[in-house]
Symmetry: C2
Subunit: 408 residues, 2 copies
């Protein structure tokens, strides 16, 4: 089996400007095709570092995929680094430059600059990998019985090239059977302890837990589907009281799938999460079948006007209260007529907290067939984005549990 | 100056289940405090790999920060790996276990399980780093004149511990003066070519470009603020026609800041982006001062009912059309009374495209003081999330340009 390392190149990955998106994507695609990544290394732009790291990695693995450093600017040095490592020069294959010219024309960007000309070069002896979404082609080259592939750093270009041209070189052809089961409402330590026997490392079956805010995704991989099925049954039985559902990696995917199969429509009204719940749901293909509309009612005025929350509720209890979310969800059902409705109102911080209602306090309500139910959570002062994501996740979990196949 | 490597530990980072969030955060914090990260390495859970990698990294750097592998489950091996590398045993400091017990009580989780007991252990001779957001403490230990720190993998816990306890050990005390200038509407290759003289690598000033969808963030770092100011002025002059503004790293931060200083309020109506624009804006602290309300009008019925889009517009032109976004923005201004309004309607895919209106076609409109303006973009079939993010970014740019300080 081919052993693989990923090498991510770019100063912007080492100084906090950019969080890498390619490593996890490539690794996930490889895993689904039965190939494990043994290491991901991130380094800066300098040429010498790229050359040395390719060498280090090829001591341990058979195939290095490099992402980044093939743009048109002076700080893009991957092409040169691979050529130097392989001991060859850079050549223009006579095709790529014409493609770049055509691509610029098609996009109405006029003629490419001389700066783009370096993008037409690849190491001598390398096979060119087309880039339908950008100007820089990738390439793959054999060096001493091992291989190095270069793809762009821009995620959309990198993914397309990786899927179309790199994955086919590496795939073993047989995907490892796997299922993800989602649980919520239990600490990772507790579920991990309960699943300890299942999680012992074995050749033929692997069980792993990943926490995404309040959702625990338990991934089961097994050598064959019978073993997968029996392991999943045991895992589900052990975590039965917290089990949400299976077949999706993310709670919003599971929710959309369940709503579609139930033929339920959903509407939302968000205050502190400000569109995050709607955005996570509409990020799932097919969401348009289940979500008709959603509201971001950030101000008190919007809560009154759009959801008919009574002024006295806001005056007496405030916007972050059980009374307010119950009024919001009633108003939302009235306006939207949706079979399932969810609302959230809280204090994400950093400002806006008080002794009575500290940062991190979030109230929620849902209504199924018009019957409302409210609850609240105190996340603590853990940072604005963290409060928003946790609150969004908890609402998504509760909405999923309100579908007919919850826990099945 | 201390040289630093980051080591991210976890099988879930190598198989696509989780995209790392800590590496970029730590690197960004360090950079702001004048410290450069030379390498980020991601490896799996096995003990031997962690031990060996710590050794490899400490050959090249003085300080390794390890994130992950200190949870309570059997696959958490960082504690043991560091102890083994340092040649010491693991000890219970007599304080941590009591804290874990108290934390469980406070969170209403009852008594911790025996599985949590390993979390009270740290390598002998290490200094414990408190974890106010979770059960596992971190630690830092000296080994042969160099140092190794261990922090959690869970991002909220990791960030708090890193900021409070690791950063103070590493900071040089003087932050490097830096400014970020945002540009839009120009390819990275073109701006990079124009800025080539500024981007030549020098000791005293560094200029780098990072693309986030259609926004190019040019970061200028200089040895002193006079040099920073003069460099920024040249960069702005060179890219004047595409310049959006300075002082924020992300376009949504710049938009919120400009709206606040203009005392303009904003409303949104989103179709294909489904709340993403609102979510990006409300992710910025202080957004509540400028955003009162937003609508996700995903269905035609919602566009008619919430924004009064005429049925004949939808029948004649369809939901993805200039006529529709103009009707949407008029309806939005009528309903919200906002000084600035933005709407978007498009086909994010993967389904829903036609020969006439292919996947990736997006129509936009904004209205400033009620005066509407519409435009469209064809992004191509580049993936649902990519179309959504690019469309959201383009709307954010156009809204920012509509503020009074655009280009200043």
């Amino acid at each position: 089996m081919t052993s693989i390392a990923l090498l991510l190149v770019g100063d912007e990955l080492l100084d906090g400007r950019t969080a890498d998106k390619n490593g996890a994507y490539f690794a996930g695609q490889l895993r689904e095709h039965g190939v494990a990544v043994s290491r991901i290394t991130t380094i800066g732009d300098p040429l010498a570092g790229i050359v040395a790291t390719i060498g280090d990695l090829l001591q341990a693995v058979d195939f290095v995929v490099i992402s980044g450093g093939i743009g048109p600017t002076a700080d893009d040095r991957t092409r040169e680094a691979v050529a130097r490592f392989a001991g060859v020069d850079l050549v223009d294959d006579g095709v790529t430059w014409d493609e770049i010219v055509q691509r610029f024309e098609k996009l109405g960007r006029g003629a490419p600059s001389e700066a783009n000309r370096v993008q037409a070069l690849i190491p001598r002896g390398a096979t060119r990998l087309p880039n339908p979404l950008g100007t820089a082609p990738g390439f793959v080259i054999k060096v001493g019985g091992k291989r190095v592939a270069s793809v762009p750093g821009v995620p959309s270009e990198a993914r397309r090239m990786f899927d179309d041209h790199v994955l086919p070189l590496l795939s073993t052809g047989s995907a490892i059977p796997q299922t993800t089961l989602l649980f919520a409402g239990v600490p990772e330590s507790k579920l991990g302890h309960l699943l300890a026997d299942e999680m012992v490392e074995r050749e033929e079956v692997r069980v792993g837990i990943t926490a995404s805010w309040s959702v625990l995704a338990v991934t089961v991989r097994a050598a064959d589907s019978a073993l997968l099925e029996s392991t999943c049954q045991r895992v589900r039985a052990i975590g039965a009281q917290w089990y949400v559902g299976a077949g999706a990696r993310r709670i919003e995917q599971l929710l959309v799938e369940r709503l579609r199969s139930d033929r339920l429509d959903l509407s939302l009204a968000e205050s502190c999460t400000g569109g995050l719940v709607a955005s996570r749901i509409t990020g799932v293909p097919g969401a348009s079948e289940v979500l008709q509309e959603a509201y971001v009612t950030y101000s008190n005025a919007a809560k009154q006007r759009l959801l008919a929350v009574p002024a006295e509720v806001l005056e007496t209890h405030g916007a972050v209260s059980e009374a307010c979310v119950l009024a919001m969800v009633r108003g939302l059902v009235d306006r939207s007529g949706a079979a399932l409705a969810g609302v959230v109102s809280g204090i994400a911080g950093p400002g806006g907290g008080s002794a009575d209602k500290p940062v991190g306090l979030v109230h929620f309500a849902i209504a199924r067939s018009g019957v409302p139910e409210a609850w609240s959570r105190q996340y603590g002062d853990i940072g604005r984005e963290e409060v928003r994501q946790r609150a969004a996740t908890d609402l998504l979990v509760r909405l999923t549990r309100a579908t007919s196949q919850a826990g099945r």
